[in-house]
Amino acid sequence: MKKLYVLYDSECELCRRSRLWLDRQPAYVRLAFLPFQSPEAECRFPGLRELRPEKEIVVISDAGAVWQGGAAWVMCLWALREYREWSLRLAHPALLSLARRLCEVVSANRYKISHWLKKAANHEELRRKLDLFPAARCEEGGHCRTY
């Protein structure tokens, strides 16, 4: 296996951030990211719709092997240098069912989580913008001059 295609939801902030994080990690197997909504994904995987990629993350190998949900995450970790050991641990049946459940819950609520993430990002941006303006200085007459 030389390449793993990760089909993610580009309309969800959580998924976009996860993609960026995965992309930054050193990997044994190259990860290629495709938004499942993109025409390229449809073109490369004609049977993609039947897999219902909008439900949970889908990972497809260059040979066409498919993993979805918790198993897809285990495969993503397996591709990474620093997390392969964790993926082997997570693949144990006891932990895997837990991982599956967690992924189901996160996927079902991903837009809600993304909303919070966006809000946090907006606050941070606003704070940085406000820092650019100097604080209002008080004049001798007792009133404050605003910029």
Partner: protein
């Protein structure tokens, strides 16, 4: 005085001999393990093996020389044997500790090397056609 000097001489001889024996054993039997840990790169494994043995000699002989003057001073033959036994026992424990530490480091390296070739942990759930 004679007993003390005899303790020191015996202690040095036994400790250094033990250190050499352990180092040789490690050097001989650790090689295969290291070759496996370094993905079959024999030149690198030999180099690391040699460097490890040098470090091992330095640490152990250093400890043996530093610890020479500590412990009970023997006044008779029984005292000599006791002091000698205590000192050599300490050296053996340190050698054992170093040995297990080395094994731990090697096995960690080996596990990492094995991880690289590990097959996917989960079987595919389905197959789909791929257009290249």
């Amino acid at each position: 005085m004679n007993y003390i000097v005899a303790t020191y001489a015996l202690y040095l001889a036994i400790s250094v001999a033990l250190t050499i024996w352990v180092a040789r054993t490690l050097h001989k039997n650790g090689r295969l393990f290291l070759v496996d840990a370094f993905h079959g790169n024999e030149a690198l494994a030999d180099s690391i093996n040699h460097l490890l043995v040098v470090g091992f000699y330095l640490m152990n002989i250093g400890y043996v020389s530093l610890a020479l003057k500590y412990g009970d001073k023997a006044a008779d033959l029984a005292g000599l044997l006791e002091a000698l036994s205590t000192k050599v026992g300490a050296v053996l424990l340190i050698l054992g500790g170093m040995h297990f530490f080395n094994l731990y480091v090697f096995s960690k390296m080996r596990r990492r090397a094995l991880l690289q070739g590990a097959p996917p942990p989960l079987p595919p759930q389905a197959y789909t056609p791929v257009v290249e």
